[in-house]
Symmetry: C2
Subunit: 188 residues, 2 copies
């Protein structure tokens, strides 16, 4: 039997990504986001939803650019911290020990310690109420050489983690369970 949980953002799983920006003073900042996902194939686009009051939102609007850094599970404490304080009052790169690297394609920094980073140019915004959805066009994805298998990003080496709104917890990735896009006949 299914029980109603009400009109809530309980969908699982959600990604845990770091949004990198430069603010109006040129300070590198990161913000943790879980309201996010891929949203278009051609051109490749990614969306992340931000509250208008956030330091990161203002920076994205000014620079028309942001990065997504995908932290591995070993960075969950630093990543959680980056979602708890504002870049207005704190130096989150300094506090976490993360290294900011200027993207060579867009006017935003990424986190060197993250195995996968995504460079985005602001494409459009959609005001949905509490949050403004920021859609970025992906200009490049860069991956640590050590996290590539046969030239492709290996999720079992990158070890991203996910957020679960129901228990307010971070959860690791498990094992590969199957190949996608192969079941052309119904399973027996």
């Amino acid at each position: 039997m299914k029980l109603s949980q009400g009109a809530k953002t309980l969908a699982i799983p959600t990604p845990v990504w770091l949004v990198g920006t430069y603010d109006s003073n040129g300070k590198a900042n990161i913000m943790t986001a879980a309201w996010a996902g891929i949203c278009n194939s051609d051109p490749p686009c990614i969306q992340v939803s931000l509250r208008e009051a956030r330091h990161t939102y203002k920076a994205v609007m000014e620079r028309k650019a942001f990065t997504i850094s995908v932290p591995g599970e070993e960075l969950w404490r630093e990543t959680d911290y980056a979602g708890m304080v504002s870049g207005k009052d704190s130096d989150k790169f300094g506090d976490t020990g993360f290294t900011p690297v200027k993207s060579d394609l867009v006017d935003a920094p990424y986190v060197e310690e993250c195995g996968m980073i995504i460079e985005c140019r602001l494409k459009e915004t959609v005001n949905l109420g509490s949050h403004i959805m920021v859609v970025g066009e992906i200009l490049d994805v860069k991956v640590d050489e050590a996290a590539l298998t046969d030239g492709a990003p290996d999720i079992q080496l990158l070890k991203p983690f996910i957020y679960s709104p129901g228990d307010n917890g971070y959860h690791s990735l498990g094992v590969m369970i199957g190949d996608a896009l192969v079941q052309k006949t119904p399973p027996e």
Copy 2:
């Protein structure tokens, strides 16, 4: 050293969700989606990106409604199949053995075998190129009684799985690694 992978939709992880709709003939249909995510807190909203040619896109436009069913990892073959054929030519509920249940809040069916389902009213669409992003307002989330712990959806019982574009694979969830939204001081 980070190596460029080009402008590609490689962000990880992505969810694997089933979008449920009724078409113009009233036939219940599902489509697998990974270009999706939560996108607003108040009102609670979720986005899923669909190609305009898809049977599901037309159905969402007609009925102004859809559901998201979150399959557990044991349903990965059925879920993969639902992404490989079109509801135009096939009865995906019949083929997979899934049971369609009419949502009591919106004009769309959900998958009874999925432990978490989300009922959505179409809020808006954003044409991004290859895909049209469909934003739905979440009217309710329903969860199997057996998948609740202390009244909240338990991701370790629901066992959703994720898609990894880099290896084109499905991967299971691992263990809980920490509580979110607690690190108010930088980790040591």
